[in-house]
Structure formats: structure tokens, C-alpha cells
């Protein structure tokens, strides 16, 4: 069990979301799904397991039991009993230790996965917290002081000492480029101003991120409400774009001239007020190639970590088994991108058993 000493700005239980849009229920799920998947993989969880999503200022958590955890996402400062706590690694936490997650200079969100996966209240097939509707996760709300988080049992396992390649990480500001696809509602005057950078305003939450500058829009009071998709860029009558995040309503009546590519959706979950956004219009083919490449890297890391957790018996049977093919090299760039944290620049050895021979 984890006892919440300080809840942080907005810490919510999230998994990969729900599929009940036909009932008017938003998709939900972690705003940076890449961070969720990698955090889960690092502790040997299934990709859909629920974890804690942390926003801008993190929580202070007292562990009442031993656990294996991983913190992935924006470069939050974190300490375990006052010692620096590394991101992008599986870290054993002992009963009685206090994990304190502070702030982050870049990006907005991180995901804390616990081996076994957090428990929570399910709604429409997902444990994700929907703050607006008030269901899922921890009573449909963000964490409060005194809350107790529990997780499902998985047999204890030695953590892989893998450093995930930094190219797997979702880009964070202050400058980001979003690849977008045009819709039939994109007008020539809109395309002409897409070369300008835009600024993320203070209106940024799990429903959407509002930009400060305006795009040309044609207000059509007669436009019927149509289903929204993740990453849709809506233009309300004032022209200030709204980029839709996982908790956005399922339908909307505003023109939607642009849709952020699937590959770049996790970036939306890392936008914070003040970040500068540039647009890059791409073809459907380019969007699919980018997603395929990104997904390939993610699945390779997930497969390597799954292989590690499957245990020595399973590892010995894998065809790629052999010298020079340790899990660390599969999943990693072979070096620690954060000097002073973890301290190791040589390829790491597994903790519990020798590398497969």
C-alpha cells in the first residue's frame, strides 16, 4: 500500500483509457501513453496496467510495503528518502521509504508505475480517472492527502538495469513541432499562417490545450456536432485553437481543420503553459511511417523487457539469446543519459542472474 502524504498538483490513476465514445464517454487514459507503456514495461506489467499520472508538481508517497516502481515522462525531480531517484528505470522501494516527486523544468507529466499495476474503480472497462465525470480510478478524483493506493500482486522480480534509449522519450518543450494532417475544413488563409509559432496558454488540462494566438476561422452556427478524435485541433469562434486531449468531450460543433498525427499525440500530454508550438503539415503516408517507426522502437523495448521478466528459463529458449544480446542492449542506448544518476556508463549487468550465454 502507498499512503499519500502530499497529493501533488493533480495526480490521477490512469491506464490506456476506455472505448465507450459511442455512449458519450470520453476516451481518457494517460496523456502521455508512451510514458505509461514504458513505465509498465520497466516493472514487468502488461501495457494496459493502471499507474499514477503526475502533473507539473508531484506527490509525496509513503510506501507501506516493498514495491518495484518506475517513473517515466517529463524530467521531474524526485528523491527516495532524500537520495536522487532515477527516471526511466525500474527501482526497488522498501517498506517505510518515502518517494517525493517535485517539479519539472520541461514538459508537464510523468507516470509512476508499480509492479502489479495500481488498483482502482473501473468504469466502462477502464480504471482511468475521468475528473469531469467523476468516475474511475480513486473515486473519480485526483489524489488527496491520506489516500491509500493499492496494487495487484505479481511475483517479486529482479529489476532489469536497462537504460531506455532517450529517443523513446516523448519530446518536451519549450519548443515542440507537431506534425498535423489537414482536413477538408482547412482553408488557404489558415495554411498561410501555420508557419508562425504558437504559444500554449494557461488553459491546459486533460481535456485540451488552448493556444494563445488565433488561426483564421469561419464560424458556422449551423455546423452540426460531429465526433471528435484524439489530437483534433478545434477552432472556436475566437480562433484560438484547442488541441484535444484524452478527457475531451466525444463530440464537438467547432471546425476542425487539423488533426495531430498519432505519432505525436504523446507530445500533447507534455505541453505546458508557455511552450512554443510549431506546425508541420504532413501526408497520411508520412504520418503512418512516423507511427510505424516509433511503434517499432517501443515494441522492441517492451519485448526486451518482457523477455527479461519471463525469467531465465524462458530467456534461454529465445532464438536471439547469446553473447552481446543482453536485455540492456536491446532496450537501451547502452549509456545513462543523466550524469550523476545511477552513475553507470558501461553496459549494465543484470542484478540477479548472469547474462544469457
Amino acid at each position: 500500500m502507498i499512503e499519500v502524504r502530499r497529493p501533488g498538483l493533480q495526480s490521477t490513476v490512469q491506464d490506456t483509457g476506455r472505448r465507450a465514445r459511442a455512449l458519450g464517454v470520453p476516451g481518457g487514459g494517460a496523456a502521455d501513453l508512451t510514458a505509461l507503456r514504458l513505465a509498465n514495461a520497466l516493472v514487468g506489467n502488461p501495457p494496459r496496467a493502471a499507474a499514477l499520472e503526475i502533473t507539473l508538481a508531484g506527490p509525496t508517497l509513503l510506501f507501506q510495503a516493498d514495491a518495484l516502481v518506475a517513473l517515466c515522462g517529463a524530467p521531474f525531480e524526485a528523491t527516495l528518502d532524500g537520495q536522487p531517484f532515477p527516471l526511466w528505470r525500474a527501482v526497488p522501494v522498501r517498506k517505510g521509504q518515502v518517494l517525493r516527486v517535485g517539479g519539472t523544468a520541461r514538459g508537464a507529466r510523468a507516470v509512476l508505475a508499480v509492479r502489479g499495476g495500481l488498483k482502482g474503480q473501473a468504469a466502462f472497462g477502464s480504471l482511468s480517472t475521468d475528473l469531469r465525470s467523476g468516475f474511475g480510478g480513486m473515486e473519480g478524483r485526483a489524489l488527496r492527502v491520506g489516500d491509500r493506493l493499492t496494487w495487484s500482486f505479481l511475483p517479486p522480480a529482479a529489476p532489469p538495469r536497462a537504460f531506455l534509449s532517450p529517443d523513446l522519450q516523448t519530446p518536451t518543450g519549450p519548443q515542440v513541432t507537431l506534425r498535423v494532417l489537414l482536413t477538408p475544413e482547412a482553408t488557404p488563409d489558415l495554411l498561410a499562417v501555420l508557419t508562425r509559432p504558437f504559444t500554449v496558454s494557461g488553459q491546459a488540462d486533460r481535456m485540451g490545450v488552448r493556444l494563445s494566438e488565433t488561426l483564421p476561422t469561419r464560424h458556422d452556427p449551423g455546423r452540426v456536432s460531429l465526433p471528435n478524435v484524439p489530437g483534433a485541433v478545434q477552432l472556436p469562434p475566437d480562433g484560438r485553437p484547442i488541441l484535444l486531449l484524452p478527457d475531451a468531450g466525444t463530440h464537438g460543433g467547432y471546425p476542425t481543420p487539423l488533426v495531430v498525427t498519432s505519432a505525436d499525440l504523446p507530445i500533447l500530454g507534455q505541453l505546458r503553459p508557455g511552450d512554443r508550438v510549431r506546425w508541420q503539415a504532413v501526408s497520411g503516408e508520412a504520418a503512418r511511417a512516423a507511427l510505424g517507426q516509433q511503434e517499432g522502437r517501443l515494441r522492441q523495448a517492451e519485448a526486451a523487457l518482457r523477455w527479461w521478466y519471463a525469467g531465465p528459463g524462458s530467456r534461454a529458449r529465445l532464438p536471439h539469446d547469446g553473447p552481446g544480446q543482453s536485455v540492456e542492449q536491446w532496450a537501451s542506448a547502452g549509456r545513462d543519459p543523466r550524469p550523476g544518476q545511477g552513475g553507470s556508463h558501461e553496459p549494465a549487468e543484470p542484478d540477479a542472474s548472469p547474462p544469457p550465454a
Binding site: R21, L23, G24, T183, V229, G249, G253, V260, S262, R288
Partner: protein, 205 residues
């Protein structure tokens, strides 16, 4: 592709415009197409969200076109009818009556005589877009949405009537309030209604 109007919306969704949109949704639910994550209805529209790594816009579009070619319009036989008791008297009631050129009494009577249908669900859990308003009852939306519309508000916006299941922002004109519970996760069927159901308002007594 012939007959169907299918356009991409980003790299992971297709918008299908067809009078058979509701039938297509039922068909996809019964016989899923490879790569489809979910399908979301609107009025004569079905937006199909798919996994771009499993299928392509071209293949899925062809699959959907083939499905549409085989579909027949469904009969509206087994739809439920919901009668919602409403306390008329919202902040926009007088404005709406004047806009319709009716007295408040006649406006309320016209509201209760309207035979409405749940066109689709969306916006927020439990919210239904109700179609079938006679022309005089169709109201322009507010220029600036209210930040808070109370739960249970009965409202008019464009061609639609609707009831806000819980407090949300909203840009429609509020003419009344109902105690009906539209959404409750404790019920076996959390939502009061489904697309195709009939709806009537009556004056709360």
C-alpha cells in the same frame, strides 16, 4: 468507392456520411472489421477510429463501403419511449418563447407536443442529442457559452434539444429542469437512453 461519402479525419479515423450510419454501427458491433477500435455515431455520420498499424484508410474505406452496400434501413419498431417530467422556467424560457413568437404557455405546450428522438449520444456521459424539434422551437446557441449549466437543465441549441446530465459548461438555451437521472454507474444500464429511443417532455406536477 461508390455511393458512400468517406473522408479521413487525421491518420486514425474515417468519417462515414450515410443515412445508414446507425445501421452501419450495429453491423460493425455485430461483425467487427479488422483494425477498428471503435465507431462513434452522430446524425447520419459514423466516425470510425482505427489502428493505422493494423489497417489503412484505403482498406478500411473499401471494407466500410462494401458493408454499406449490403445494409437495409432498420425499422424503428423496438425503440423505448421516455417521458421526462420537466419544471419549465429556465433563465432563457421567456427569451425562447419570444423568439418563437409564442406566449410562454404556448411555448411550453409546443415543447411537450414535440416527438423527439435520440439521434446520438455524446458531449458528456448521458447527454443525448434529441432531434425532431418543430422549426419554431429551434434556437440559436448563446454567443458565449455559460461556464456552468446546472445538472438536469433542459436546453435548446440549433436543431437540437438536450438535457445536461451533470454540471458542465454549455452554450444552449435553458428552458427548464428535470429530476430524471440520465447517467448512474450503479445501474445495470448506466445510461437512460440509446440512439433511436423516443422522448417526450411533460410538465412536472
Amino acid at each position: 468507392m461508390t455511393g458512400a461519402d468517406i473522408t479521413p479525419l487525421g491518420d486514425a479515423a474515417l468519417v462515414v456520411r450515410s443515412p445508414l450510419a446507425r445501421e452501419l454501427l450495429a453491423d460493425l458491433t455485430a461483425r467487427p472489421l479488422s483494425g477498428v477500435r471503435e465507431a462513434v455515431p452522430a446524425l447520419d455520420v459514423l466516425t470510425v477510429l482505427y489502428d493505422p498499424l493494423t489497417t489503412s484508410a484505403e482498406d478500411l474505406g473499401a471494407g466500410l463501403t462494401a458493408r454499406l452496400a449490403d445494409l437495409q434501413p432498420a425499422r424503428a419498431g423496438d425503440a423505448s419511449t421516455h417521458v421526462l417530467p420537466v419544471t419549465f422556467g429556465g433563465p432563457d424560457l421567456a427569451w425562447c418563447a419570444a423568439h418563437a413568437g409564442l406566449s410562454v404557455t404556448d411555448f411550453v405546450r409546443a415543447m411537450c407536443e414535440a416527438n423527439l428522438t435520440v439521434a446520438f449520444l455524446g458531449f458528456t456521459p448521458g447527454f443525448a442529442f434529441l432531434t425532431g424539434l418543430p422549426k419554431p422551437l429551434r434556437m440559436p446557441r448563446l454567443d458565449a457559452p455559460r461556464e456552468r449549466v446546472p445538472a438536469g437543465s433542459v436546453a435548446l441549441g440549433g436543431p437540437w434539444a438536450g438535457v445536461y446530465p451533470r454540471e458542465t459548461p454549455g452554450g444552449w438555451r435553458i428552458v427548464g429542469r428535470t429530476e430524471a437521472v440520465l447517467f448512474n454507474l450503479q445501474r445495470p444500464e448506466p445510461l437512460l437512453w440509446r440512439a433511436g429511443d423516443r422522448v417526450r417532455f411533460e410538465v412536472q406536477r
